[in-house]
């Protein structure tokens, strides 16, 4: 969980009316930047993180001491080249890496817990928009992100149609599916069923619903991979043993792997934030915001879109990404689309998938040349 040091924070003074009806003001948005903003201020890329990401996109995350979540894609000479572009990323509100969230204190100095207002993707995007003013950027060169990051990309360009030249939603959807809501609900139930959750007041009770949060992470982690990828990586290989032990220890490597993923996640993520952010994803339905017509979400933008999906992603499958392409084509928008061959599942966008990284790089660099 976050320590205050190493976290840059913008305090948003302006009141923000949330979709739930409540208004927040004087709240922190934690952010990080990479590369430098040029004098014309036309080289900024706003990156949006996914469910468990944070503002530390690349390099060493100073809080977790691990590599940034998008280190394969962002950095000097990489797809999103920080020698060329100024990359900004902020922690979503509702999160737990310095932005306003359920682990913060209310005006009575009491930790919010589940008294924190329910946040939507729209709220996240509106909060992050304040960073443009902060840096004096009139128009971004690009906005991008995968998964929930992609949802924010779509919401951002819908809310602020002339604020980005290019738009790159990756492995995402315009409307969270029943299957995805179901997986999120499974995660939330795991957390709230942990007796240490204490109705969300675990911090003041000096407990932590680590077991529940770990189970939530384990279940979610499976959805980020593909059957083929799992089979190739783990198969039925046994974990440091010659034979089955006829017990409930982790006999199989896949069990051990999932347990490890669960345990390291608990060290860096807040259980209540997990509830809030998954809820925001479930509530996301951009078409519904426009009376069922997704095209209308984009009718005021002249931005150039590039949409990317992955063959083995069954969480945000190609068809859901293509639905966005179809909505854009039906209004004559400038949209490109590619489905990348990969057996790494939904996680492909975070991993070393050369076809993906070169497509991203070529699109950005060629678009920037045309600037």
């Amino acid at each position: 969980m976050n320590t205050e040091k190493n976290i840059k924070t913008l305090i948003v003074k302006k009141p923000l009316k949330l979709d739930c009806g409540k208004t927040i003001k004087d709240f922190p948005v934690a952010y990080e930047t990479y590369g430098s903003l040029n004098s014309k201020k036309d080289n900024a890329i706003l990156v949006f993180h996914a469910l468990t990401g944070d503002q530390f996109v690349t390099g060493l995350n100073p809080v977790t001491k691990k590599e940034g979540w998008w280190s394969y894609a962002v950095g000097p000479d990489k797809a999103i080249d920080t020698n060329k572009y100024f990359v900004i990323c902020s922690n979503v509100i509702g999160g737990c890496m310095g932005s306003y969230g359920p682990s913060h204190k209310d005006t009575d100095q009491k930790i919010f817990g589940t008294n924190f207002p329910v946040i939507t993707i729209n709220d996240m995007v509106k909060a992050q928009y304040n960073l443009l003013d902060h840096f004096g950027i009139d128009k971004l060169f690009s906005i991008t992100g995968g998964s929930m990051g992609g949802m924010q990309v779509l919401q951002f360009i819908s809310n602020f149609p002339d604020k980005s030249k290019t738009v790159i939603p990756i492995a995402t959807t315009s409307s969270h599916s029943a299957q995805n809501i179901a997986f999120n609900e499974l995660g939330r139930q795991a957390i709230t069923a942990d007796s240490n959750w204490k109705e969300g007041n675990y911090t003041s009770n000096n407990t932590n619903p680590g077991k529940g949060l770990a189970v939530a992470r384990m279940a979610a982690h499976i959805t980020y991979l593909s059957k083929k990828g799992l089979q190739e990586k783990f198969g039925r290989k046994l974990q440091e043993r010659e034979d089955l032990k006829f017990g409930f220890d982790a006999d199989f490597q896949i069990e051990s792997y999932l347990r490890y993923q669960g345990s390291v996640f608990v060290d860096r993520f807040d259980a209540n934030s997990y509830l809030y952010i998954t809820r925001a994803m479930d509530y996301f339905d951009l078409a519904k915001q426009f009376k069922g017509n997704l095209s209308n979400a984009f009718k005021n933008t002249k931005a150039k879109f590039f949409i990317i999906s992955f063959t083995s992603d069954w969480l945000y499958p190609t068809q859901e990404n293509k639905d966005i392409v179809i909505a854009l084509n039906s209004i004559g928008a400038d949209v490109g689309f590619v489905e990348i061959e990969s057996d790494k599942g939904h996680d492909s966008f975070l991993l070393d998938v050369p076809d993906f990284l070169s497509a991203l790089k070529n699109f950005l660099d060629k678009s920037y040349e045309e600037n």
Binding site: N329, D334, N362
Partner: protein, 198 residues
């Protein structure tokens, strides 16, 4: 750039909006974008070719013309180009209808099965013809519905499709096809280029 593309490019005025269906590596798209200020989009089924287009800075959508043309609104492009691909579709008639729905005009090129070399090959060798424009063996060709210039000419007429221009290509020679010279062009051209509208 191959002569076919030069002829196609000459049929398109500056500053228009064009969709290249089956745009392959985007050579024609790039030429139109750079030289005629065309607002150009491509539709391409091959992932590798899509990547090549992206590397050229072209807007391309990975997709299948038989399924994915329906997402484009009526008459949303000034021209829709289909180069030497009509014969490879399961249902060429449906694709042609879609091209003419999406485009105000369509430019369709077809490898001519009536070309004399094709006829000679079949007549004297007795095997499926292989020529420069039809390089594949019968068992691995993508072509399902080969036709001749004459076939296509009659086909579009029967569908009440207006032919603005029909051109016969033989290497670097381009000539106009009309009702009276159709038989000759059908024999001596290896490629037909048609500018049509419905």
């Amino acid at each position: 750039m191959k002569n076919e593309f030069n002829v196609i490019a000459d049929l398109i005025e500056k500053d228009k909006k064009v969709l290249d269906v089956g745009c392959a590596d985007g050579i024609l798209m790039k030429f139109l974008k750079d030289n005629k200020n065309i607002n150009i989009r491509g539709l391409e089924i091959s992932k590798e070719k899509v990547q090549e287009c992206i590397a050229k800075g072209l807007t391309v959508i990975e997709g299948n013309a038989e399924k994915d043309l329906k997402q484009f609104p009526d008459k949303s492009f000034d021209y829709v180009v289909l180069s030497q691909t009509l014969q490879a579709f399961l249902n060429p008639e449906l694709v042609l209808d879609e091209l003419l729905r999406v485009g105000k005009k369509a430019i369709v090129t077809i490898p001519n099965f009536g070309y004399w070399k094709v006829r000679f090959h079949l007549l004297f060798k007795g095997t499926m013809p292989i020529t420069k424009t039809l390089p594949d063996e019968w068992y691995n060709t993508p072509n399902l519905h080969m036709c001749t210039i004459k076939d296509f000419f009659h086909f579009v007429k029967s569908k009440d499709i207006k032919i603005f221009k029909s051109l016969a290509l033989n290497n670097l020679n381009t000539s106009i096809i009309n009702e009276s010279n159709l038989g000759v062009k059908n024999l001596f051209a290896d490629l037909g280029i048609f500018l049509i509208e419905k």
